[in-house]
Symmetry: C2
């Protein structure tokens, strides 16, 4: 009996996939395999999608920003009217709670992004049109061609390859998108892509503007990234996987925007710990447990100076974690990765204070975990002790004094964020010293706040020095900057006026 496998979205229609294999998603809350079968595409699917994307890229050049924005708004409206249904599908595949996470937070954010980037497309200033009348030279950031977006496991909507921030930025900049859905939530992605398709068919854009496949062999993934028909790539996911794709893209000189790994150092200065230690306990425990710690901005490293306030802080977090009910994680594979990472950090000499074990039974879950090491021992093995533990697991580095704390910060790799908690007067001198070191190592610097929660703001930098991302000058969130990632700078030198793009005449 031949099994039914879901189709892929190629060239404006749902089509039977050229199958290499098939897979099912699993409900992480129960361990049950979900019934629908999804394709692992053979190269033929990719090849067809790339050809269709090339044609769509050409047609999109003749579409106006208003037409592009209208599609995005139409898509946003369709998502908005399907919140209940979408959340119902997503909870099965991700274990993320419908409320508040999916319906109150992530889905509204997804809709907001689509609308804000649509506004940026309409406004047009993202493209920095520049006219030098004296020399008759003009330039503008123009679409870069088909963009491949690899979505991550941890945001089924807001970073999904077919609806998230890379997707919205690439479309707003005038490019077609080939989404590589994450295989942990294929049905969610299918439902989203169908909203996109319906909105497309009602729009003036080419129907191949949005295409989607679910899974590929590693070799085909590499071939896709290197393909000359691809203009740029957006990738959010694991460091190992991202670095493989980066090497391929770099070798052919193709822009690839990556979000790889980040442990988001949080520095707690003595005055802050002494004056509001209880509050800091709650803030860390809340932030680290959000989404079972599966955020790229989860606070994975706490750096402080040893002392009674610091010890009370650590004891406070341990007490909360001991009583906490471990949340469902996105997958059993994620639990295994987390176990492995915690073991790596322990092997490097960190002491386990609480947690450190998967929850027994069919549910994918891991006990909230806190580890501790000294500044001295961190400095002896800084690389391994920066291993990302993707889940609710943080390492506290207890330093002897401010000097050692600065030494620890000097050893940090690039991160998306860095937080400094400080007393309003007694920590000022220490702040100045620390800021100087931390500032250039992180994309977003926070005061007295945990790193989770990324505003969709024009002032946002959701990015940072390697290995947090591949280039410290770009952000993955926030119009208009994020649109420019998916563009090439095009100059018109003494080009006859009737041949210029409208915005350069």
């Amino acid at each position: 009996m031949s099994e039914v496998v879901e189709p892929v979205l190629i060239d404006g229609a749902w089509r039977a996939s050229h199958l290499r294999d098939a897979f099912s998603a699993t409900n992480p809350a129960t361990g049950d395999r979900l019934p629908a079968r999804f394709p692992v595409s053979a190269w033929k699917d990719v090849d067809l999608a790339l050809d269709a994307a090339m044609r769509a890229a050409d047609s999109l050049l003749t579409c106006t920003p208003n037409q592009i924005a209208a599609f995005m708004d139409g898509y946003a409206a369709r998502i908005e009217s399907s919140f209940e249904e979408l959340a119902g599908i997503a909870i099965q595949e991700t274990g993320l709670p419908i409320k508040p996470r999916l319906i109150d937070q992530e889905l509204p954010r997804t809709v907001l992004q689509l609308r804000e980037y649509a506004n940026a497309a309409r406004d047009g200033s993202w493209a920095l049109p520049t006219i030098d009348v004296e020399h008759n030279v003009r330039s503008i950031h123009a679409p870069i061609g088909p963009v491949v977006v690899f979505g991550p496991n941890n945001f089924p909507f807001a970073y999904n390859g077919v609806s998230g921030t890379d997707f919205a930025a690439a479309i707003a900049a005038g490019n077609p998108v080939i989404a590589k859905a994450h295989p942990l939530h294929p049905n969610t992605s299918r439902r989203l892509a169908n909203c996109a398709l319906e909105a497309l068919l009602e729009s003036d854009l080419p129907a191949a503007t949005v295409q989607m496949i679910y899974a590929l062999s590693n070799a085909d993934g590499v071939q896709l990234v290197a393909d000359p028909r691809v203009g740029a790539i957006g990738f959010t996911g694991s460091r190992a996987g991202g670095l493989k794709l980066k090497a391929v893209a770099d070798a052919v000189g193709k822009p690839i925007y990556l979000e790889l790994s980040s442990i988001n150092p949080v520095v707690m200065l003595p005055g802050a710990l002494e004056s509001c230690g209880d509050d800091l306990v709650k803030q860390l425990a809340d932030s680290a447990q959000l989404s079972a710690g599966q955020f790229c901005t989860s606070p994975g490293l706490v750096v402080l100076i040893d002392g009674s306030a610091a010890r009370a802080f650590v004891d406070g977090v341990v007490a909360i974690y001991r009583d906490a009910i471990p949340q469902t994680m996105l997958s059993h594979a994620g639990v295994a990765s987390l176990s492995q990472a915690v073991q790596t950090v322990r092997d490097a000499g960190a002491e386990l204070l609480v947690g450190g074990l998967p929850v027994p039974g069919p549910r994918a879950a891991y006990a909230p975990t806190l580890l501790r090491t000294s500044g001295e021992s961190f400095l002896a093995n800084p690389q391994t002790l920066q291993t990302e533990m993707f889940g609710t697991a943080s390492l506290v580095v207890a330093c002897r004094d401010l000097g050692e704390l600065c030494d620890v910060l000097c050893k940090l790799e690039g991160n998306l964020t860095g937080s400094i908690y400080s007393h309003e007067s007694s920590d000022n001198e220490a702040y100045a010293k620390i800021e100087r070191i931390l500032r250039r190592k992180v994309g977003r610097l926070l005061n007295d706040a945990m790193p989770t929660g990324v505003r969709v703001s024009p002032a946002m930098q959701h990015g940072g020095p390697f290995p947090a991302t591949g280039h410290p000058g770009f952000t993955a969130v926030g119009a208009p900057a994020t649109l420019r990632r998916f563009s090439q700078l095009q100059c018109y030198d003494r080009v006859r006026s009737d041949r210029l793009p409208r915005s350069l005449r």
Copy 2:
């Protein structure tokens, strides 16, 4: 007898180099070795320079844009008052004519760039300061740290690592520069660096803001690029050398901006050839002979449709080249590379029409060269027939018809520029077809003009898709965009107001 070797500029002073070896420049017009000896630095020189640059980067953060701009203006004024002396040194090392090239063109351009980028620094808008009051989130493009600039052989001033456009952009963005002078013109670079040092010592900037070394082993060059103290790299030079450094920088996730190779396709449509063929002959011959063809924007590929006007055009260029006196090239090594590249193109089936030989004798020179191939033969071997011939040497591709011409353009790699010559009415349909293909393959599109001559304009794109450069979104010329290359995007999230950078308060 120990020989005297010139010092390197490290940490604010001329210091004896830690020598790995020493070398001399050669006068390409005579083949004579010039007397001064320059160091090939050992790693120790680089290490000291990097430490000093780190300290300078820290100090520069406390300097105002006005102080940075004042240094650049001071440096520009010193260059301006030394035109005669500088040109006199440069002609010995480069063979480039003092007039008009050095004194009337390149030196004024160098001074102009320094002043325009100084103005961009003062103005500050390059950094895109963005304030979101509602969420108390702010962002700005901030200095990226020490920048290493590898200057090319062909512009002793305007692209020199210690005075050119990458240098000026990196400084204007608030970064110290370690210049890697080109070993073909060390004395020119030494004299420039001394102007920079004098201007620095009169400025409020740290004295290690500008440092310079002359030559390194390949291994040390690689180690320099990978060093964690380096924020970013600018490289203008050969494709082979640049790709090696790119691989190293990419592996450690460090921004590297490259200008590698470009053959600058020029399409001549039938109406243009018929109506002003004689003029096009002169334009091509003039442009291709400028600086003995040693421009990154030299017209190396002419694409046209075969016919009587096309043949008359080719005959016209051949006639000019036959009578032309070959100009002195930058080096005998350059002549050898050009010979090799011309041979490669001939081996791939192109017919030599004129030139094709070095000039006998001690002078570095090569006869102006034109080759021809058919569209069909180009399509059979598009890769090899795009070999860059750095010098006065162009390949004419004579196509059967417009369809074949479009096929040829489809096979082109990324280029800095693309030119289309067209008749004001009869070529319009062909133009539309061609522009669609060529536009996305080039950074700068020209109408009825040769690609040589790069304006210092805010609307300039001196860049383009790989392999012309490493990223199609950046330009190497033109403020304010070129400054942003040497920055990281830094966000301040709920940071207390007295701790914000001044421009974000």
